[in-house]
């Protein structure tokens, strides 16, 4: 029985003493197992074989079997061990140690065929164990071209046996019908299937091409080769594909085949050029410095037969312009009301799928009374190949008289390759009202001469034109506007400078006004303070302070008028500067001086009366300033 301390320390002790206790361990699950990563491999590729050996005491090194046509390269060795302990009952428990060795081999087939890998033998705990024999199939790398499904019969000498046909690399060409018509456009897809399990290293050495003589115009509208994953008959493939358009150019029997310029990259068991042989003895460098060889892989033996037929001459409508496919037509007119001589735009939309580059504007089935002009066209594709969409034709029409009641009938014909018939569409026309022309401009008073002169241009019927001018008029040397001339902007800059000078003068004037205003404000404020002192002295019946405040109030006002400091104004200045109108002010100054300097005292009534005279004088002086 273990006490609690023993229970805590036991696992730690066991971990530390594991190597020493290894010899004391009980039995382990021993054995050897071999697993192949795949059942088949293409020539140039490889499969991975992993051998796992489990046991307490591993014996001598694993014996690698020799197989004719197969090369075994040791890719790596991993070793690990598990130690487990059990504590139970009164027996004191037991410990188990298991050693595991995993050896990886790269199996490279040297030739085509089926190989049997014999059992790997190994001695464990004194006993001999062996793996089960394994089978590996090596396939020759080649391909076939088939147009239908994968079950299509193999053809020509390059095809593989049917059973192996889909295993490595093959290509398909889809979308090409067995029968086409000259001018017809179809979308075809070139596909390259590569078996994902084949572990092939393939490079595309250039763009794939479609071989078919000069009977087709080929255009790859979608640009780059795309890639997808696809499972065929339970086998996973990586599929590279390119979508293109085929236009049949001429009738006859032709054969199409897809060409994929492929290169197979093979790793040889020899060093790359310039690498010492000894590097291959090191497992780490072996994979890095082995020589890689690129060999072309020929594909595309099969051919797709296509019969190009001429368009049937029987039943071809007069309005047929080369369109092949399936289309609908709609017509709109703008404006719905038009005057004689004014243009109207007919918008005809041909929508559907087919060879839009050969789709022309619907034709008029009699356009009496209407002057027509060549239509402009715009194509709005609905797919990347341009096989579906809408082609919009805008055509100008001018009514020649106001007797016209409807638009001219339009007709569009195409050839339907499915029904092998021509189809003629006559779309419903929108209503239109033709009004009489407005009276012509008075200026148009000269009819242009008919196109009869030898050096006359194309025979276009010109409308009446206003006559030539006989006076050359004001002549100038340049069509460029005056705004592009430097002198124009220089002159305007002069105007702006003049304005700037004006703004400067206005600002200066306002600043002058501001100085006078501030001076007046200061004077008013000082006068108000002096009057407050005057009231205070009156309330206290303080004659000296009253006289001082009255004198100061008058001096502040005069200082504002004369632009002097108040302290510097004396009674003599007042006498000197003021004229006869200033006698009252002078009298007030002299009365104040008498109180201040002669010690005369003023009664309350005298002070009140004196204040009234001072205030009146201040107002008079203030108004004058």
């Amino acid at each position: 029985m273990m006490n609690p301390w023993q229970k805590k320390i036991a696992p730690l002790t066991l971990a530390l003493l594991a190597p020493a206790l290894a010899a004391l361990t009980a039995r382990a699950e021993s054995g050897v197992q071999a697993v192949l990563s795949q059942d088949s491999v293409s020539l140039g590729g490889s499969a991975t074989l992993q051998v796992t050996v489990r046991g307490n005491s591993l014996g001598e090194q694993l014996a690698v079997p020799q197989v004719d046509g197969l090369q075994f390269e040791q890719a790596g060795v991993a070793r690990s061990s598990n130690l487990s302990a059990s504590f139970g009952g009164g027996a004191g428990g037991s410990m188990t140690r298991e050693n595991i060795v995993q050896v990886s081999f790269r199996v490279v087939p040297q030739r085509e065929g089926a190989f049997t890998i014999p059992p790997f033998k190994c001695e464990i705990d004194g006993k001999t164990f062996a793996t089960q024999p394994l089978t590996l199939k090596a396939l020759k790398v080649t391909g076939v071209t088939s147009s239908g499904g994968l079950s299509a019969a193999p053809a020509a000498s390059t095809s593989l046996p049917a059973a192996e046909k889909n295993d490595a690399v093959f290509s398909r060409l889809t979308g090409v019908p067995e029968k086409m018509y000259a001018g017809q456009v179809v979308a075809a897809t070139m596909q390259l299937f590569v078996n994902r399990a084949a572990n092939l290293s393939i490079k595309l050495n250039g763009a794939p091409t479609l071989q078919g003589g000069d009977a087709f115009a080929v255009a790859a509208k979608s640009g780059n080769i795309a890639q997808r994953e696809e499972t065929v008959n339970g086998v996973p493939y990586t599929v590279a594909y390119l979508t293109l358009t085929l236009t049949a150019l001429k009738d006859g029997d032709f054969e199409l085949s897809a060409q994929w310029p492929l290169m197979v990259v093979t790793v040889k068991d020899q060093p790359a050029p310039g690498v010492p042989e000894s590097f291959l003895n090191n497992p780490f460098f072996r994979g890095m410095f082995r020589q890689q060889v690129e060999e072309p892989l020929a594909l595309g033996g099969d051919k797709q037969a296509v019969k190009i037929l001429p368009l049937p001459a029987d039943g071809q409508p007069a309005s047929y312009g080369g369109a092949i496919g399936e289309f609908t037509v709609s017509v709109a007119a703008e404006p719905a009301e038009v005057r004689v001589g004014d243009p109207l735009t007919l918008r005809m939309e041909v929508r559907g799928s087919g060879n839009f580059d050969r789709v022309g504007a619907p034709v008029f089935n009699g356009s009496d009374g209407w002057k027509t002009y060549p239509a402009s066209a715009r194509f709005d594709a609905a797919d990347t190949l341009g096989l579906e969409g809408a082609k919009v034709f805008s055509q100008a029409l001018i009514p020649q008289n106001d007797q016209i009641k409807t638009l001219p009938a339009v007709e569009f014909s195409y050839f339907d390759p499915l029904t092998v018939k021509y189809v003629t569409l006559q779309p419903k026309l929108p209503p239109v009202a033709v009004l009489p022309a407005e009276p012509n401009a008075a200026m148009v008073r000269h009819a242009a001469p008919d196109a009869a002169s030898p050096d006359h241009g194309p025979a276009t019927k010109n409308p009446p034109l206003a006559p030539l001018r006989l006076e050359e008029g004001t002549v100038r040397a340049d069509l460029r506007p005056v705004t592009r001339a430097a002198w124009f902007w220089a002159a305007n800059s002069g105007s702006l400078l003049l304005g700037l000078a004006g703004f400067f003068l206005l600002r200066r004037y306002r600043q002058t006004l501001d100085a006078d205003y501030q001076s007046r404000q200061r004077t008013d404020r000082n006068v108000a303070l002096a009057l407050q002192a005057l009231d205070s002295a009156l309330a206290n019946e303080d004659s000296a302070a009253f006289a001082e405040a009255a004198s100061r109030a008058l001096r502040e006002r005069l200082a504002g008028v004369w632009g002097l400091r108040a302290e510097s104004i004396t009674t003599a200045d007042v006498r000197h500067r003021l004229d006869a109108d200033g006698e009252p002010a002078l009298a007030l100054f002299e009365a104040a001086d008498a109180v201040t300097y002669a010690g005369r005292r003023l009664s309350r009534d005298e002070m009140f009366n004196f204040k009234q005279r001072v205030v009146a004088q201040l107002n008079q002086l203030g108004a004058a300033s």
Partner: protein, 255 residues
Amino acid sequence: MKIKLCQGGLLVILSLSAAVSLSAARPSASDFDAANQACAVQKYDEAIRLYEHLLQNGSLSASVYYNLGNAYYLHGEVGKAVLGYQRALLLEPNAADVAANLAALRQAQGLPEPAVAWWQRPLLVFGRDTWAWLGGAALLLAMLAVFLRGAWLNFGDAEKCPHRWFHGAVTVSGLALALSIGGALAQGERADRQVVMTNDAPLKVSPFADAGDLASLREGELVKPLKRHNDFVFVKNTAGQKGWVAREKLAPVVL
């Protein structure tokens, strides 16, 4: 002082007028008459050569462009005819004969009329140069009024300054200046257009020769250039479609 300022203003105006008169070249009436004579007897090749010779020698006038447009049209060259009429209209925006012939050409050829917004119509009464001159004069008047008022207040009797006159002059000048800028911009848009010189000129998706076609432009159609890339111009036609056109297929109204 006021007299001196007025004299200065007059000097500026006279200088501008003198610059205008100096920019004009002497017409060569005999060549013009000879070209008209050739056109009258339906020798359009000769007439075109003589009109082009006048233009190359710097005798640019609305009459020459108009007569050249007529000669080209009668010779069957619609694009060059439209170009001549457009240039004539640039010099004389109100020329009724030019407008009538251009309208007749467009009607006969089924060419679309460029749309003009309602607010642009009154502004197209004058040419771009006329608007420029009006704007320059308005600016000068406004600035002169500001300057004279400032001078009067500083150096004259501020009490007698006619503030209302000055304010009125600045207000009227400001309105005239704004109108002139609008007119110059409206006329500038017209002058910046280009004429398609070949029929079925492809309007392409991108500025490359092998790019897909969006539509085709017709000879004589007007397009508005928006940007350039190498030898292609991104344009907008009168129907509002935008795309790239080879520069060689266009001719600007003003070089």
